[in-house]
């Protein structure tokens, strides 16, 4: 269908809650090639996870896909049945969740939970599954795998459990690994270890990774491309260098100003982004970031900005860029 592993075009998704329609995704498009690492950055509620879940057919109850096309590995995800989804999940695409403390079933052993994925998607026999489980634990850097397999989740530390989650996710060598804030709930030192492990495994196994995070530091070190999301829109998309060294959207600029930098001068201050995220129940009709934007203009209040392209990859939707173009077609 397409040369990409993942291609999402103009996805719109809403949650129909008792309080009204929550427009979680408004026209989201992006592509991931095989073996590519895409970072999706944004604050809570910006639609990062919703996008990933919808790709796996895991959209939670009142959520409904309203438009757009989602393609993954040759499947048109839009018209897949639950049965087809089941065959795909854990096999072609896997996911690691934010909180390893609650993501493993407390009443089953680690081994049981790893072997379950193998049982579902491979025709390995019992002994082979056990061997593969041991191999997987070794792969994710857990020592004494035979002993660990017999342990229950509560007997392991948070970092250990996240490694187990990764082992489960990689059990069937998926083409895409979705990491939904995989390190948010972990200690900083453990965070680095887990990220390093993921990169190592990526090089070894060659899968693509969709890294969902609100931590720019995480994406900087590992991603090829970055999509910045705000209020259900991708406001800027580009290579890691584009985003970090040539940000075009006011929100991206704000994000970068709010993180500490190693090379900063001594008294340079961190600048927080003022204001609160938009209420997706009543999204504004103009630019969703307008109310928090320092360079907000009249038109921003009224109308959504069109996409401005900078080269083949880098694009953004911000009126500032339109203004620049109109005022004399400034060089990109």
């Amino acid at each position: 269908m397409s040369e990409y592993l993942v291609s999402i075009e103009h996805e719109r998704l809403s949650f129909f809650t008792p309080a009204g329609e929550v427009k979680a995704l408004n026209d989201v498009s992006f592509y991931i090639s095989e073996g590519e690492v895409l970072g999706i950055v944004g604050e809570s509620g910006s639609g990062k996870s919703v996008t990933a879940y919808s790709l796996m057919g895991l959209t939670a109850h009142p959520g409904k896909l309203l438009g757009g096309t989602l393609d993954f590995n040759g499947h048109r995800v839009n018209d897949m049945t639950e049965k087809e989804f089941r065959k795909m999940r854990g096999n072609e695409v896997s996911i690691i969740f934010q909180d390893p403390m609650t993501s493993l079933n407390p009443v089953y052993t680690i081994g049981n939970q790893i072997r379950e994925a193998l049982k579902l998607h491979t025709d390995k026999n019992k002994a082979e599954r056990q061997a593969r489980a041991i191999e997987l634990l070794e792969l994710v850097g857990i020592n004494e795998p035979e002993k660990r397999l017999k342990q229950y989740p509560h007997e392991l530390s948070g970092g250990m459990r996240q490694r187990v989650m990764i082992a489960i996710a990689l059990a069937c060598e998926p083409k895409l690994l979705i990491a939904d804030e995989p390190t948010t709930a972990l200690d900083v030192t453990i965070q680095a270890q887990i990220l390093e492990l993921m990169m190592e495994l990526k090089d070894k196994l060659g899968m693509a990774i969709m890294m969902i995070t609100h931590d720019l530091g995480v994406v900087a070190s590992m991603c090829d491309h970055i999509a910045v999301m705000y209020a259900g829109n991708i406001v800027e998309y580009g290579t890691t260098d584009d985003i970090f060294y040539n940000p075009k959207h006011e929100y991206t600029k704000g994000l970068l100003r709010s993180i500490p930098r190693m090379d900063s001068r001594e008294h340079e201050r961190l600048v927080p982004i003022e204001g609160t995220p938009v209420d997706l129940l009543n999204p504004p009709k103009g630019c969703p970031f307008a109310s928090r934007c320092d360079n907000c203009m009249q038109i921003c209040l009224r109308e959504k900005a069109p996409v401005t392209h900078f080269g083949d990859i880098h694009y953004t939707s911000c009126w500032m860029n339109q203004k620049a173009e109109l005022e004399g077609g400034e060089e990109k």
Binding site: M56, E82, R89, G90, F97, N105, P106, V107, Y108, L120
Partner: protein, 305 residues
């Protein structure tokens, strides 16, 4: 594990002793006695009776004698049913109640758990509403109402089922239904809310993300977690139910322990009261220990202390 059971048994013995003591003195504090209601008992005969059973001695001495005998497994003779020991009364009456009660708890478990699951899985849909309405009605109807309605409809009006005694399997249907009614409704509600809780847990999402089907994830991942509150409820329920329900036994004229117990209280059959109370309390405590152990088996996180 062994140490734990030993410790629990130690606590159990102390608790049972406390309950026995409390019951003994409370029972004796209440005005009236076992032989008051009997007509035409001359004061002399009464004194003779009391002397025979040791009721003329000071209370404390009676207490010491009783506890001493009980420790040797001798719970005395019934004061009202001549020539029968308390142990033999319990031994003949308990199995009757236990059979009906056991069947009722089994039925309640086998119906309540699936209904609760179905209801939780279909949250907010018609099936859920129907089940939850029926279950809420179920916990709202007193058991004597259920008994009489069953009896009136199936026994008297339709004549399908026998109403008295326990002659054949048909005799069991109504008492078991009546006894199972409330627990079934309660377990359904309990199971539903606990299942809803579990279905919202992260590990259920993990299971689905692994490609487990909804049905399989319910059985493998949700049920074992969701059943824990039901297990907790089941222990005391079993202890209560197998010792017989006075109402059910009275209405369906079943010679069970529940009726015996109430009868002994109103008759002031002191030894039977004591014996049955100690029996009930022991069963209750035993069930609680069993529940704790089952809990440990189902949920590896639990540490038995």
């Amino acid at each position: 594990m062994f140490k734990y059971i030993l410790k629990r048994l130690g606590i159990a013995v102390v608790t049972i002793w406390l309950i026995a003591t409390l019951t003994f003195f409370l029972m004796n504090m209440v005005p009236g006695g076992p032989f008051l209601s009997e007509k035409a008992v001359s004061p002399a005969a009464m004194a003779a009776l009391e002397a025979k059973y040791g009721l003329d001695k000071p209370l404390l001495q009676q207490y010491v004698t009783y506890i001493g005998d009980a420790l040797h497994g001798d719970f005395g003779d019934s004061l009202k049913q001549r020539g029968r020991t308390v142990t033999s009364i319990i031994a003949t009456k308990f199995p009757v109640s236990a059979r009906i009660g056991g069947l009722a708890v089994l039925a309640a478990f086998c119906i309540g758990v699936p209904l609760g699951c179905i209801s939780a899985m279909n949250r907010g849909k018609l099936g859920d509403s129907i089940i939850i309405v029926i279950a809420t009605c179920g916990i709202a109807v007193p058991s004597f109402v259920i008994c009489t309605v069953l009896m009136y409809t199936f026994g008297v009006r339709l004549g399908w089922l026998p109403t008295l005694g326990l002659g054949s399997w048909k005799h069991y249907i109504m008492p078991v239904t009546a006894l199972a009614f409330y627990p079934t409704a309660y377990i359904t509600r309990l199971m539903r809310s606990s299942m809803l809780d579990v279905l919202g847990q992260d590990y259920m999402r993990t299971a689905r993300a692994k490609g487990v089907s909804q049905f399989a994830s319910l059985f493998k991942h949700a049920l074992r977690n969701a059943i824990l509150p039901v297990v907790t409820y089941l222990g005391p329920l079993l202890a209560y139910t197998v010792t017989g329900s006075f109402i059910v036994e009275k209405i369906f004229t079943i010679p069970g322990l529940g009726g015996e117990f109430i009868g002994s209280i109103t008759n002031r059959d002191y030894t039977v009261i004591m014996g049955t109370t100690i029996f009930l309390a022991t069963l209750m405590i035993l069930m609680n220990v069993v529940v704790d152990i089952v809990y440990k088996l189902v949920d590896p996180r639990i540490k038995l202390k």
